[in-house]
Amino acid sequence: MTLVGQSIEEFRGTVRAWLEANVPTSTDGLAPGELLDVAKRFQAGLYDAGLAGITWPAEFGGQGHTAAEQQALDEQAARFDLPTSPFRIGMGMCGPTLLDLGTPEQKARHIRPLLRGEEIWCQLFSEPGAGSDVASLQARASRDGDAWVVNGQKVWTSGAQWSDFGALLARTDPDVPKHRGLTMFIVDMHSPGVTVRPLRDMTGRAPFNEVYFDDVRLPADAVIGEVDAGWQAAVTMLGHERVSIGGSVRQRTDPLGFAGLVELARDKGCASDPVVRGELAQLYAAERALSLFNTRLQQEAAAGSPPGARGSVAKLAGAMVLWRAVQTAGQVAGPETVAWETDDARAGELATAINATPASSIAGGTNQVQRNIIGERILGLPKEPGSDRDIPFRELKVGTQRRS
């Protein structure tokens, strides 16, 4: 199937038709393993239909189209619940970073299976002692001839349990300041010495993992970009992350979304209460202003101005919208927000969403970090006097760990 010569309008039609025919109607109640199979089958189909990697270079398996086609696909996709979450990290971050920095061999080896959903990727940056301050990480990759040996612990790794590959950031030189001694690696998650443990978060679920590295050997060609230039690679990847977090389309079934809360208010019989109406209107305004901002960023990107640090605005605003929604939900559902009948699935989902809300202000860089980025990179305000930027990593105190 080829799309060459199609107009955007035709392309949109093709997308719609394919999605209508191929999106699984419901994945409720499937076990994680079954869900993964559904996802892989769907992604393979999407790829084979020429609808994966829209703007990615054709040479490595992408479609080589423009942002206009991507936008058309995103618009259509927003009307469906796509089972593509296992590929989010790979498609949103690792893949684009490989395209930016990878060797031709790395691209040839990894991009096509990634796009077709055959190989799943995860991102291995955060550590218990290195959250906002990722550059202070302690996982160590030591040279062993041409190869590397990795030891250390990563945390908050989404999808590590089903990942085939990870983008690992590790310290390769502790004798230089923290930003200068890091390297990014491709790590085969099935290697000996890699242990993945689920990490239970405050919602009670375990969508994240801790990943332990115990003398894990990596070949020389596992390096992404340059040795000791891992920080630049990480910045590249985190730039992709912020856009993909802030720009993600709100699902219609989101329990904290405006649409869901209006429906809830109607069902509870309080939608005509002026206070509830006012709060819902305010929530709509916040949600819609953010989505219009995201559209504007996309249009500017399509016109040649990449969003850069402005992705931080979307990330920050997204968190604010969620916190507002938590308040609105309490107004709408009252005491039923916090205690509900066993068979009230919607109330249960709402509660889980409320419990997950703090993640919006933490994951992918805290609100404080986003504000620093906006203030410094966009507005050009001076950095804080940095006390650790020029000190060899070996001499720094990091996290809450006491050094001997």
Binding site: A339, I362, G386, D388
Partner: protein
């Protein structure tokens, strides 16, 4: 008015805090919560000791009924300490709601029979007011009490009953042919089905109670006045729990901010974190002031209690949730884990905020009492 604890009240606080530090540490709270230690959702052994060794359950029960005859200020001191450590005991249900309802009723027989057993911890009582789709504030409309074959029976459904699943008896607000009234139902009465609800807060159980021709005993008293009196006092006791929780999360956050290093400095040296802590402190101080005033009116100026209670709730409830949300966020990733205690406070705070009704209902209630 007196907004500062006196010597004796401070000593009470110290004693309770010490006792709970020894007997209700976080591991114990989690063991009860997970059901790994006990199966009925609360710490029965601790409850017995709080009642008998420390005499805290019958604090406001008159001495003639086996209590200490102390005041609401003292009871709030205890609630504050329990809220600080999230001790899973039926204090709010039994030592606050049930005790206050019995005290507000004119039913001397019921008082003489039940108050001593509540005070001793031998019985746990619960109070049922809210119904599905409503809130504590919108009060009962659908549950009806009627005479059948010479006995009173209850039909209908109550929800969000605090400790409703474990209580040995339930005091129920219901409609009768002549208006509203209060009725006493045994926890194991025929025709009473008790269903624990799913809850946001894993440390406080709430239940739905379905009554189908359940035999009950009518209780003497002005039903509406009792409901108002109990609600105001419960709101104040809950506010005390909330303030205790706020104090604890402020401590947790401040302590963490002093040891966690990012970018070469402890995070508490950054204004974003420091000012977050400062705002939390300001909120705690004001919440505590509103609470102290409300507790004082409950003892010394009951004419002002309705306004003071509504005020305390409007000040404290959103402030507690904000403080816990900030606590999780200021802790960063570790605060978001199940393993860290921050989320227990977050869930308790959200639950307390909405337990009796929405924030807007609380504001409208305050407006009513301000005569707006």
């Amino acid at each position: 008015m007196q907004l500062v604890l006196d010597q004796q009240q401070q000593e009470l606080r110290t004693a309770v805090r010490k006792f709970l530090a020894d007997h209700s540490p976080p591991e114990r709270v989690r063991a009860v919560m997970d059901g790994s230690d006990v199966t009925d959702g609360y710490d029965r052994e601790l409850w017995r000791r709080l009642a008998t060794e420390l005499g805290l359950v019958g604090l406001v029960v008159p001495e003639q009924h086996g209590g200490s005859g102390a005041g609401h200020v003292e009871r709030c001191v205890v609630a504050e300490e329990l809220g600080r450590v999230l001790t899973p005991v039926p204090f709010l249900a039994s030592a606050v709601l049930a005790v206050d309802t019995l005290l507000a009723l004119d039913d001397v027989a019921a008082q003489a029979e039940l108050l001593p057993q509540l005070a001793s911890g031998d019985l746990v009582g619960a109070v049922a007011v809210a119904e599905p789709g409503g809130s504590w504030y919108t009060a009962a409309t659908g549950t009806t009490a009627s005479m059948r074959d010479g006995t009173w029976v209850l039909d209908g459904c109550k929800t969000h009953v605090v400790s409703g699943d474990v209580a040995e008896f339930v005091l129920v607000h219901a409609r009768t042919p002549e208006g509203t009234g209060w009725f006493l139902a045994s926890g194991d009465a025929p025709g009473l089905r008790r269903t624990p609800l799913r809850t946001l807060d894993p440390t406080r159980q709430l239940s739905r109670l379905d009554f189908a021709a359940t035999p009950v005993r009518p209780l003497a008293g002005d039903a509406a006045a009792v409901l108002a009196a109990v609600t105001d006092r419960a709101v104040v006791a809950l506010a005390a729990e909330q303030v205790g929780g706020m104090e604890r999360v402020l401590e947790m956050t401040t302590e963490y901010a002093k040891v966690r290093v990012q970018f070469g400095r402890t995070i508490g040296s950054y204004q974003a974190v420091k000012h977050g802590c400062a705002d939390m402190y300001s909120a705690v101080e004001q919440a505590c002031s509103a609470l102290r005033y409300a507790a004082w009116t409950a003892d010394h100026d009951t004419a002002q209690l309705p306004l003071a209670a509504a005020l305390a709730q409007v000040v404290v409830s959103p402030a507690y949730f904000q403080a816990t949300a900030d606590t999780v966020v200021l802790h960063g990733g570790i605060g978001y884990t199940w393993e860290h205690d921050a989320h227990l406070y977050y869930k308790r705070a959200k639950t307390s905020e909405l337990l009796f009704g929405s924030g807007e209902q609380q504001r409208q209630r305050l407006a009513d009492r301000l005569g707006i």
